[in-house]
Symmetry: C2
Amino acid sequence: MIVNNSLDEIKKRENALSFISKIIEDNGRNFLYDLTGLSGGFIASNEDLNLLETYIGPAVIEQELQSVGLEHLGGQKVLPVNRTSSGILATILALVEKDSYVVHFLSKLPAHPSIPRSCNLINANYLEFDNFDEFYIPENTSLVIITGSTMDHQVIDETIFKKVIQHAHSRDIPVFVDDASGARVRTVIYNQPKAIDLGADLVITSTDKLMPGPRGGLMSGDEDLINKIKVKANQFGLEAQSPTCLAMVNGLKNFTEDNLKNGFLRKEELFNLLKDDFILFEESSTSVMISPENLKKQLKVNSSSKDLAYALSMILLKDSGIITIPAVSMPSASATIRFDLSANDAFNLDLKDLHKNIVSAISKLSKIANDEDRLKEIIFN
Amino acid sequence: MIVNNSLDEIKKRENALSFISKIIEDNGRNFLYDLTGLSGGFIASNEDLNLLETYIGPAVIEQELQSVGLEHLGGQKVLPVNRTSSGILATILALVEKDSYVVHFLSKLPAHPSIPRSCNLINANYLEFDNFDEFYIPENTSLVIITGSTMDHQVIDETIFKKVIQHAHSRDIPVFVDDASGARVRTVIYNQPKAIDLGADLVITSTDKLMPGPRGGLMSGDEDLINKIKVKANQFGLEAQSPTCLAMVNGLKNFTEDNLKNGFLRKEELFNLLKDDFILFEESSTSVMISPENLKKQLKVNSSSKDLAYALSMILLKDSGIITIPAVSMPSASATIRFDLSANDAFNLDLKDLHKNIVSAISKLSKIANDEDRLKEIIFN
């Protein structure tokens, strides 16, 4: 196995970032196609920028963020955090007791690692379910978490969503929804209500996922709970800073449902092109994707499935300037190769060209898929 | 006691921020004087802003930050973090074992709360000293921390600085320097070397303190240690995001020693004006300040010293638009009223006017200092 731990993952990410940097320097930004669906944005006027001073910026910006944030998420009060992961940490620090249980339901395992990791940090017990028939809430549970849409954009069934909330509330346990991409995928593509309108006490979304905002997390919900979480966030430096808050305001104001809806249609088109070549590609709301396990099956080799995904992601970057998550991700993110057709850059790509580039990258990978040295070279150099 | 816990502190901060917001709306930014010394800045050209996309921005910006950051701090590799507090948390998560000791030396207690709090989170033992004669490093110590300059800008003696490092290194224990403002105060005003040049393994500075950068923390030091800390930072969402990194690059490029040196001279001038009225004012490198305890002595009342400081800070804000830390600070920050003469806004103030405003605010406070209802109204409304 080549990428074996978090340090290797950081090394892989740094290699990809320096390659991206080189492409921008040598050829320009137009030679890159960020199809992660995470490319967000940073929209700010010069007037906006003048506000960005430590104690003056927040005063003006946080007030505006309250109003646009509540409109997007519902709830009584919003709390902007540095990342969705740091918001999850702050929530668990604020609401979960040592030795108590955190119960997590999501449509498909694995869970985002930040949830079990934060539980582990404070010595709480963590239980996770992706089958509602097996779902239960033990005695001494502090918090129930629901993931609205997984890292690979698998969306939870609305009926189950409501049932999990009912179970928790019948026991007076607060419900926190990790709606990273779900706050938009669920509502726009699947016509589901906002998490808060389904009865959740707290929700968090990633402001760079499927909307033109900055990397960061935006929470909302019950005011008393938000205030408790805010204390922990401020104590440990987990809150979002003013520049991020400013870009959240403008990202939310500029969010339209059209990109998601068009992405959904173009996704269908690309999926139809690809499925003749590779039967193991799957589709989600606005993406076509292949999991590391399916990639390994497709290539019929013995190498680690994740290493194959990292290598494919790097080949796509180096040969075609296509950015997918595995090359550039933070430790423990999903290694699924996902092409998000709702990303801004996706609209600049001819789908037939994209199809050709994907076929050619997989063909290149297949030739070296059993050669650990060659894979290593592609991932780290 | 009026401000009694972290929730009260958040409420007080929110009240101050909404007051600041109102002043900007009604009168404009020029009616505010941010003398916190934390007002930083956010310098960015339009070209810079185009870079700020999730996976493309970091590639270019982080490379530039490496070079300007290493120049400012020394060391082998820099790591930008969301706040100095989150960098301290990441460091303790990465380097400190449960049940082991963290030993902290600073020129004057109290320590910044983020250090004991992070130790407490992982069940490490925390020892702190501000007298070198009492200083010792117990068995099973994971990390020695030195604060270069305290929250109130008290600077450590260079000889003691070196001795603490020697002690730690003779036992093979890494030394981490919290040089939040110290990286500049110590070097520019006190002519001390950089922490890394004094032998420290790691250093962190706050990029909004005494330089025109964004709220955030910048770490540097030994590459292997930084890599370990980076893993924890990325796992829990503690790292700085691209907009902050961009503003760090530009803040460092625009940092000059002149503001600090001029601030030092003007501080002398203000101190000479104030000391005739109030003998309990003190001076630090670029600031004139009064501690909550001395404020209480000055006013000869029984109210909580911190409440008096919060009220004075609010009076200064409401009557004169002067922003000091106690009104707007995060939970557990120092409640010392400090006027930083190296702040940008300080150069727009006539020192005689500033002197008059301070005298009048203290006189106003003295009239209500025993009336808890009035103090409460000033702090929270």
